[in-house]
């Protein structure tokens, strides 16, 4: 299949509503990841310096 055909096939198969839902889902995952990565150093700070 040529690049043009493959592109056309892919683009025609994409429904705007489904794409919006999918992008929002990716964003939610990213937001959760971001929140988790921010939480880890905060928790570490709260725990105080490691005991010797």
């Amino acid at each position: 299949m040529s690049v043009e055909e493959a592109t056309e096939k892919l683009v025609q198969s994409l429904s705007p509503t489904a794409c919006i839902e999918e992008l929002l889902a990716w964003q939610s995952i990213r937001t959760e990841q971001q929140a988790a990565s921010e939480k880890v150093p905060r928790d570490a700070r709260r725990a105080g310096p490691p005991e010797r």
Binding site: M1, S2, V3, E4, E5, A6, T7, E8, L10, V11, Q12, L14, P16, T17, C19, I20, E21, E22, L23, L24, W26, Q27, R30, T31, Q34
Partner: protein, 268 residues
């Protein structure tokens, strides 16, 4: 009757006289432009004289003469920056060829126009073949609200800010503000501005992947990690989904995809 007839005749005469004067000024404008254009390397004094003379003659000329004068200056490499800024800020119907082609415009002038003029002017600048990194950064960083001053959707990005956490905060804030109207068909997702679309198409056409990534990331609310993730998928499927979700037309998406994700043909 006779008086009224003669008044009409006088009015008509004045009208014709006005027309004649306007045409005379058109001739003066074209003469000003062509004599300046004939100078291979204008001296400082000649440039100063042109800066003083051009605006008033331009103002007094007809739109057709203005168009011709600006078109003639579009190819001249020594147009002073004051005149570049002046022409660049004129009505887009006249300024467009100058904005898109003039070799005289400095980066500073282009940046000033990007920051101060409307979207049509900025889009004309995007058509330039020789955009420097500085101007491209100004284009990517410039934000033009399309319909209102109210932030649209959850992808609002403050202009020029590179602070990722601030952008994320803004995004979350906008998402929260939008939560009440989630029933809308775009589910609170903003649409690419015409400017962002034009930039994405330009960077795809020229194979400028890094600049494409930067513009795309901004369209995603500044989420560079998500943008990089989407672009790293070589089949282009995720990019296609994201572009359509952001409101890019299928024609533009079909143009962009194979240029950014050439492995698309391997997609099963």
């Amino acid at each position: 009757m006779i008086q009224s007839g003669s008044t009409a005749l006088v009015d008509r005469y004045r009208e014709l006289e006005g027309l004649k004067n306007a045409r005379k000024l058109d001739v003066v404008l074209m003469a000003t432009v062509s004599s300046f254009g004939a100078l291979e390397k204008p001296s400082d004094a000649e440039r100063r004289r042109f800066v003083e003379l051009f605006p008033p003659v331009y103002e007094a000329s007809t739109p057709e003469a203005r168009r011709q004068a600006v078109a003639a200056l579009s190819g001249h490499p020594h147009v002073p920056q004051e005149i570049c800024r002046y022409i660049g800020a004129q009505d887009i119907a006249i300024a467009a060829p100058f904005l898109a082609r003039s070799p005289a415009m400095s980066d500073e002038t282009l940046t000033t126009l990007i920051e101060t003029m409307g979207e049509e002017h900025v889009r004309a600048i995007i058509h330039r073949a020789d955009l420097s990194q500085k101007v491209i950064q100004a284009l990517i960083g410039c934000h033009r609200p399309q319909h209102s001053e109210i932030p649209q959707g959850n992808f609002e990005v403050r202009d020029g800010s590179r602070d990722e956490s601030e952008i994320l905060r803004q995004t979350l804030k906008a998402m929260a503000a939008k939560a009440g109207s989630e029933a809308e068909d775009r589910l609170g997702l903003s649409t690419l501005t015409e400017l962002q679309t034009a930039l994405l198409v330009r960077f795809a056409r020229r194979g400028e992947r890094a600049l494409f990534l930067e513009t795309f990331a901004r369209a995603l609310g500044g989420d560079r990690v998500l943008a990089t993730d989407i672009l790293s998928e070589t089949s282009g499927r995720r990019l296609g989904i994201a572009l359509i979700a952001l409101g890019m037309t299928k024609d533009d998406t079909s143009y962009v995809l194979p240029r950014i994700a050439p492995a698309i043909a391997n997609e099963k």
